[in-house]
């Protein structure tokens, strides 16, 4: 789960990570007042959950309250990658002596937490990682070995700064950031850039936080921050119904049990020249309701020209699945061709049941199903 910059900054403040003076605003008038209150040059920043807002014109400097109001008018309401800007953060303009990057994320291969730092801050860190990987310093942090030790933070800080004053500030920011990371069950936290201002004070100019969905039950205050983006609405609703759905831009709707098998089916469609309209994993149950809900999602997607169902009955028996499918088809009006491949435990019994519905197109393998679906879509 992602949150907005202003929300991330609120968490930073809780953990005593220094941020600029900032006020969240929803109207140009509020922007003007905020600018006046801050009493110096401000930066007005669009609050959207996608990257690249700067390039899109979503971040602008204003020299006085009048300019701020003007800039507020420009940014509020604009669209960035399809998202309408409804909030801006009015932030004191900070004199920047140097910019660096610090962050934490989980590291799969070491099974630990990795702390990253780079003196090349203020730019896309993934670019830095590709272009000049030697400018990114990493240490592994083991929460079962006392977490981030002072000496680790210090060693990393010495990679960013030479003077003890900045090193000390970096150590305390890294320690606080780690505490925030652990304390919120984050999966990513970044300060980019971490800037040194005119007085030599380090400040988190931007803030990014992603959280582990599986741990949100421990953090109701963060779960409350969830805002479903319009593009994610269907995926979110599917999830609430126990389905895992992702919309793509193809025309063959897929319904599969199991994520790996679903990806295999999609790959096969592609292999044979088709294009999958979605990823849709209905999981391990033969509950007809799930099949109905899944089918509804596919039918609501105007791009879908044909539906391909691929089920491998494991513990779930094929006859149960077939009954579920029949029930689902009875409950819905389906005006698209449906190709079904059903195999595994009690396959025969399952297929017997499916044969009752003459409109269903049966396939005897995943390949067969993919080929038939593509053929029907091309008609």
């Amino acid at each position: 789960m992602k949150i907005d910059e202003y929300q991330a900054k609120e968490i930073f403040t809780q953990y005593n990570i220094p941020t600029p003076q900032e006020i969240l605003c929803k109207t140009p008038q509020e922007v003007k007042q905020a600018s006046r209150k801050i009493g110096k040059k401000v930066v007005v920043k669009a609050q959207v959950k996608v990257g690249g807002r700067g390039k899109a014109g979503g971040v602008k400097l204003a020299n006085n309250p009048q300019e701020a109001e003007e800039v507020g008018k420009q940014i509020l309401g604009m669209e960035i990658k399809g998202l309408k800007v409804q909030k801006v953060l009015v932030s004191e303009a900070v004199e920047i002596k140097s910019e660096s990057y610090v962050g934490f994320t989980n590291d799969r291969s070491s099974k630990k937490i990795v702390c990253m730092a780079s003196p090349a801050g203020g730019v896309d860190i993934e670019e830095v990682a590709k272009e000049t990987p030697d400018k990114i310093y990493k240490i592994l942090v083991d929460p079962l070995k006392g977490g981030l030790h002072d000496f680790q933070a210090r060693n990393l800080a010495f990679k960013l700064y030479d003077d003890v004053k900045s090193v000390r500030q970096t150590v305390s920011i890294l320690k606080a950031l780690y505490k925030a990371y652990i304390g919120t069950d984050a999966s990513l936290v970044e300060i980019n850039p971490l800037v040194e201002n005119g007085e030599g004070k380090l400040i988190a100019l931007d803030a990014k936080f992603n959280f582990d969905d599986n741990a949100l039950y421990r953090h109701p205050e963060i779960a409350k921050m969830r805002e479903v983006l319009p593009a994610e609405k269907v995926e979110r609703e599917a999830k609430e119904k126990g389905l895992s759905y992702i919309k793509l831009d193809g025309f063959i709707g897929c319904m599969v049990n199991g994520a790996g098998l679903a990806m295999a089916a999609m790959d096969m469609i592609k292999l044979f020249g088709g294009n999958p309209a979605n990823f849709l994993d209905i999981g391990g149950s033969s509950n007809p309701k799930k099949v109905i809900n899944a089918m509804k999602i596919l039918l609501n997607d105007d791009n879908v020209q044909v539906v391909m169902i691929n089920i491998f009955g494991g513990i779930t028996r094929c006859d149960d699945v077939a009954n579920g499918l029949m029930e689902a088809f009875d409950a819905l009006k389906i005006n698209l061709p449906v190709v079904i491949r059903l195999t595994g435990t009690n396959e025969k019994e399952g297929l017997e049941i499916l044969k009752q519905n003459k409109e269903l197109i049966l396939a005897n393998s995943m390949q067969d199903a993919a080929k038939k679906a593509i053929e029907l879509a091309n008609k």
Binding site: K112, E126, S244, G260, L261, M263, M266, I269, G314, I315
Partner: protein
Amino acid sequence: MSILINNETKLIVQGITGRDGGFHASRMKQYGTNVVGGVSPGKGGQKVDGIPVFNSMQKAVAETGGNTSIIFVPARFAADAIYEAADSGVDVIVTVTEGIPVQDMIKATQFAAENDVNLIGPNSPGLISPGQAKVGILPGKIFEQGKVGVMSRSGTLTYEVVDHITKAGLGESTCIGIGGDPIIGMTFIDYLKLFEADPQTEAIVMIGEIGGDAEEQAAKFIKENMTKSVVGFIVGKTAPPGKRMGHAGAIISSGSGTAAEKIAALKKAGIPVANQPNEIPQIIESKI
């Protein structure tokens, strides 16, 4: 032979009084697995399908001599169940539970490693050594004792592949779902070492998917260390970046972890990669 589980496996089911735990305890018993006990705190003394229930792993191991555990407890209690199992002295822990917080698993995998326990999963369908023992939720019927070791990040896709292997008459030595989460206990390399040392296994199938770099690391390991043939199969070629494809671990982040990268890494290491599941048996036959 086989790896990790066999005729000598004595299984304890953690969370046996839950719906899934009870159901699969019976299924495993039916398959022939020696299910010696179950754990459910506060339900010690009860029986589930004739299997004695204990209040703790400590007690279950002491009374039954169990050497393997499988965990079906809900996600928020699962890490503690792993700690308890790792502390109890069993050799193998299979975690079926899905949705365990990642930071819990960072600590639990480390704890298991320090206790020298083989931790499989979480979010794993378990494993099966056909004809000997099944510790998991896999459908026993599609497996046949044989010569192919299978390890996979997926569930039903594994069944699809195994179905082809079984129908081709090759059979499986041990088939493992390693778990679909980003942080899991044993990884491909750990299983490869065991398969390499297992006389029954003649070839290995590695079923990978997008996300992380486990397949790339395995490719490097295979090139440098394996004498037995490995066949790869990678899914998720059509997956868009930044979207989690069902499994918590199946996500292409910042452009890395794509299927194309993984396939390239495998091929570079001289590992044949199947385009479709049905190609796998032929490739194996050409190699053994």
